[in-house]
Amino acid sequence: MSVWDKLLSLDRRWIYLILFVVVSYPLLFPIGLPLTVSRETHRVYDYIESLPPESVVVVSFDYSPSSYAEQHPQAVAIMNHLMRKPGVKIICTAFWEQGPMLCEELLESIDTHGKEYGKDYVNLGFVPGGETAMSAFAGDIPKTFPVDHRKNPIDTLPMMADIKTANDIDFFISIAAGSPGVPEIVRQIEGPYKVPFAAGLVAISVPISMPYVQSGQMVGLLAGLRGAAEYEQLLDMKGTATVGMDAISFSHIVVLVFIIISNVAYFLGRHKGGAK
């Protein structure tokens, strides 16, 4: 067996071990590799920055624990920014059933900068039905959410007194892991009500959603953990995303090296009559 054949039949557990070691190093000993902020992330930041007081922003927690590592830092960064904005009202909602739980966890852990529950921000909770629920939400918010996630009747929440439909919303952000997600919101909320819309996405769905940014249907987007790290950089905060970026870069180098090695081994092995 030639060296090329040995490389091609390498036990996958060696790859796991190498990856484990390489990724662990920057987590334990951060390097701080430079990070440039993408235009898509900057647009989301700039839009929130330009919101006047009394603006109403909806943050929809449309993800689950399976994409927590990628998307929770996005939600934390965006919520931190919104909390810093004086007078801005925040409505948290979810079209994924685990969203309200993740939202509550986030609200317990961040600085609200003096904002009060019910007056400045609220967690409406989850409504089932996917796209149909989005349409119902856009058409009549109090009817879709008669009580919030903390079981308060919606008419007892002062900030909800004048917020009835999507026409009363100034910005809609979805931290979306899949379906229902970006296309559904574009169809039911952004399109019919012309509500400016942005999203935090799992990295794999970014190429699919990019045409919506190109067409202007989305203000911008946060792409995976990198998007969260970029946003943290704009906010001048060091969160889990920033710390994780060194590890991401290192892991990509490992993947690239293995792709190159395996291709070289394949072609040279074939040339020598080894691998088929």
């Binding site: 662990s24 059933e97 296309p183 794999i204 067409s215 710390v243 991401i248």
Partner: protein
């Protein structure tokens, strides 16, 4: 202090058991997988009941909105699938769901995903905002046309030059697939790194943020 410490230890042990799958499937991993699915299903039922309670039970009981019984009955009819003799009953709520869903999607799909996307593809080739902007516009126009022609299957090789255009369309799609693959790698690595951050940070307290 007992709560978070116990939860952290439990999370760490479950994470390590899930990682044990890398060495092969084993009973401990299978147990954790079932626990995860069980928790997810239980949470879904709990959230589902909350919604039935707030959107149907309470309005019917407190405000006498009896028309809400109709969706409740339709919902119960879905479960008739479990009884072969009465399974035909489930077709009515299913037809209702599909009809409503389709109508709802069609309402927005034309403007949001058809007209707006076509409009965004018809871009002027101008270099006023920089060289890259102009090149980007050319790529969008050429890419859209060539990819669309790739899926033109009638008489594909009869028209002169069409084969080359289709090849270019395929090339453009390969670039898109490459971007998707790159993002997929980043996503999977993020999940792995997220777990390591939990193990090194919350569990072993080795990380300094």
């Amino acid at each position: 202090m007992l709560g978070p410490t116990f939860a952290t230890w439990l999370g760490a042990i479950l994470t390590l058991v899930v990682f044990s799958f890398l060495f092969g499937e084993n009973p401990a991993w299978r147990f954790v997988e079932h626990v995860y699915i069980g928790f997810t299903a239980a949470h879904a039922i709990s959230m589902g009941w909350r919604n039935i309670d707030s959107l149907a039970v309470k309005p019917i009981a407190n405000e006498s909105r009896l028309y809400l019984l109709i969706p409740c009955i339709l919902g119960v009819m879905l479960y008739s699938r479990f009884f072969p003799r009465y399974s035909w009953l489930s077709r009515y709520p299913m037809a209702f769901l599909i009809g409503c869903g389709t109508g709802m999607i069609l309402k927005g799909v034309m403007e949001a995903q058809f007209i707006s996307q076509i409009r965004a593809s018809v871009v002027p080739i101008v270099f006023d905002n920089g060289l890259m902007e102009g090149i980007g516009s050319i790529v969008i126009i050429l890419g859209t046309i060539c990819v669309l022609l790739y899926f033109y299957f009638s008489d594909p090789d009869g028209v002169p030059g069409l084969k080359q255009i289709r090849s270019f369309g395929r090339f453009i799609m390969m670039i898109a697939f490459g971007a998707t693959f790159g993002n997929a790698v980043m996503g999977e690595m993020t999940l792995f790194i997220g777990r390591l951050q939990f193990l090194y940070g919350e569990w072993l307290n080795l990380m300094k943020i």
